[in-house]
């Protein structure tokens, strides 16, 4: 447990600033460190380099779409940012990654704190096969929210945030697996939000969903903008165009993918720097 009040999820949802800007609390000065900084990040699996020298700076409260052909290492890049890469056999990460200025690749990095600050949504909704309530309660209990009432309060808040509250308020004891795919994905987002992260990493959260459920999640991302810094991996360029503030494009090269271009959405769609970017964005848009 940490004494740091910011690290306490309960602190975020109670008191006068319950509706406050969550990032504002964790960044003392207005233009302090960016949410996420990658410098020369190289990722290899068993000595096969899949990402080479990727450098990025994500501003606080913005939505960044991460684009690129399949297999170019988007998921791998996300997994470095909360050190989930540690769990993956043979995965090696080099370079420098900072979360609000803190070097997270350092041996001394507190993984528990890091992963609470940097939430992750997986491509396939992965609620625990337990009750809906338990899915949100469990991480809260683990992170020291002892008061049941407070937990209920947070649960209602995050379920409202993802627009699930009306649908599940009467059956919180039902198994999470009884929800539809889209509902399950929103439950997973709610579960991540319950820990009051600063950054959300979303790995193709809509890819397994029908357009309506996907649209709902997209809307949700729009609503979360500003309160959270979001990295959104997507293959859907329309989606990137609709929700992203910035767009990053990874491109596979023989010796590992590189960051081809990183720019605000308007710029990259209307006046891409690279010929390839333009081709990709136009080609993939049909």
């Amino acid at each position: 447990m940490h004494a740091n009040p910011v690290a306490d999820p309960a602190a975020r949802f109670t008191g006068s600033n319950a509706t406050g800007h969550s990032c504002a609390q964790s960044v003392p000065a207005a233009d302090a460190a960016p949410a996420l900084t990658l410098r020369d990040v190289t990722v290899a699996y068993h000595d096969r380099v899949v990402l080479r020298d990727v450098s990025l700076q994500l501003a606080v409260g913005r939505v960044t779409a991460l684009l690129g052909p399949s297999g170019c290492g988007k998921s791998s890049l996300l997994q470095c940012c909360n050190r989930l890469s540690d769990l993956i056999d043979g995965c090696r990460v080099q370079g420098n990654i900072r979360v609000f200025g803190e070097d997270i690749l350092a041996a001394a990095c507190d993984l528990r704190r890091l992963r609470k600050r940097v939430g992750m949504i997986f491509q396939k909704a992965n609620p625990f096969p337990l009750s809906i309530r338990r899915n949100i309660e469990l991480p809260l209990i683990e992170h020291g929210v002892r008061d049941a009432q407070q937990r209920d309060h947070i649960m209602e808040k995050v379920l409202r945030d993802v627009g699930l509250w009306q649908e599940v308020r009467d059956r919180l004891q039902a198994p999470a697996q009884s929800l539809s795919g889209g509902q399950q994905q929103r439950l997973c987002i709610a579960r991540a939000l319950a820990l009051a992260p600063d950054i959300l990493l979303m790995d193709e959260p809509c890819s397994a969903l029908d357009p309506i459920a996907g649209g709902r999640i997209e809307e949700l991302i729009g609503e979360l903008r500003g309160r959270y810094s979001i990295v959104l991996v997507t293959h859907n360029l329309f989606q990137a165009r609709r929700v992203a503030d910035d767009v990053a494009l990874l491109w596979p090269m023989p010796d590992g993918s590189r960051l081809l271009e990183f720019a605000p959405r308007e710029t990259i769609f209307s006046a891409p720097q690279h010929e390839l970017t333009g081709l990709y964005l136009r080609g993939a848009m049909g």
């Binding site: 992750m120 997986f122 991540a192």
Partner: protein, 299 residues
């Protein structure tokens, strides 16, 4: 005509052959089972009709040649041995499975699993033999004659522990791997991962594992025959020599005639009922697992 078979080549497609073969196999398996049960019932009927089911429970003793057919002591012995063996093997097996899943490194796990597989593969007659020459004398030093309910339960526990451990390990490992990234991404502790996610999630499968092991313990004949003592009496204490239903059938079938023979079939029927009941329970557990969702959401 449009053939219902998806293959385009000929109506005598491999699909059709496969389907016929599957149906035949299913019919044979089902038929054999039905015949078996019918045969058991037919052979049991004389005893049930002439002696009466009540007498099987209330007769003072098992002296089949003198027309006294008390099955109850043996039912108690069977159940007692199996439950005691389970009580010993289940915690041990689960502990081993947890150790393998949570703490053992890759090499240690491989060695351990190989050992358990070896242990699980030991024929029960060898285990019974070991029990007779190694375990029974130890118990005899404490309470003669040594062959007893306790001896049988201990050897049975040894027999089913590896099975429980291996099956539970598979179940736990699967659940642990499925949720590893999720729990890590939520910064749950290792403890929470295992005890708050993996174990609750794996519980129905673990319960089926336990029931399977119980079924095996109930049905085991050779070990019990060799070390339980085979005296027909109520298990008054742990060290009482007892005879199980299975041992009884094995011991007497060779020379049993008429009602005696029929009474043995009744004990077989009782065993089958217990095993069938267990199977039903497993099926319900597994089905309940899947159907929980609609049932609860409808409420």
């Amino acid at each position: 005509m449009i053939s219902s078979s998806p293959s385009t080549s000929s109506p005598w497609s491999i699909d059709l052959l496969l389907r016929c073969w599957q149906r035949l196999a299913a019919a044979v398996a089902g038929g054999v089972l039905l015949l078996l049960v019918a045969y058991l019932i037919a052979e049991s009927l004389p005893a049930l009709m002439r002696i009466g089911p009540l007498a099987l429970l209330t007769d003072p003793s098992w002296h089949p040649l003198e027309g006294s057919f008390a099955l109850l002591p043996m039912v108690m012995a069977s159940v007692g041995i199996a439950l005691l063996a389970m009580a010993l093997a289940l915690p041990l097996g689960l502990a081993i499975a947890l150790f393998l899943t949570v703490y053992a490194g890759r090499r240690l796990r491989a060695i351990y699993v190989a050992m358990l597989e070896l242990l699980a593969g030991i024929p029960s007659v060898i285990l019974g033999f070991w029990g007779l020459v190694a375990l029974v004398p130890v118990i005899a030093r404490w309470q003669a004659p040594g062959t007893s309910l306790l001896a049988a339960a201990l050897v049975l526990a040894l027999m089913i522990t590896p099975t429980i451990a291996l099956l539970s390990h598979l179940v736990l490992r699967q659940a642990a791997q499925t949720h590893a990234l999720t729990t890590a991404a939520l910064a749950l502790s290792h403890y929470a991962h295992i005890f708050r996610v993996v174990l609750p999630v794996a519980m129905p499968a673990l319960a089926s594992t336990a029931l399977l092991a119980l079924g095996r313990a109930l049905g085991e004949t050779m070990v019990v025959l060799m070390v339980a003592g085979n005296v027909v009496q109520f298990p008054a204490s742990l060290t009482t020599p007892v005879r199980s239903l299975t041992a009884n059938i094995a011991l007497e079938m060779a020379y049993a005639r008429q009602e005696h023979r029929s009474a043995l079939f009744v004990s077989g029927l009782v065993l089958l009922l217990v095993a069938g009941g267990l199977y039903f329970l497993i099926a319900r557990l597994q089905r309940g697992d899947k159907e929980q969702a609609p049932v609860e959401s409808a409420a």
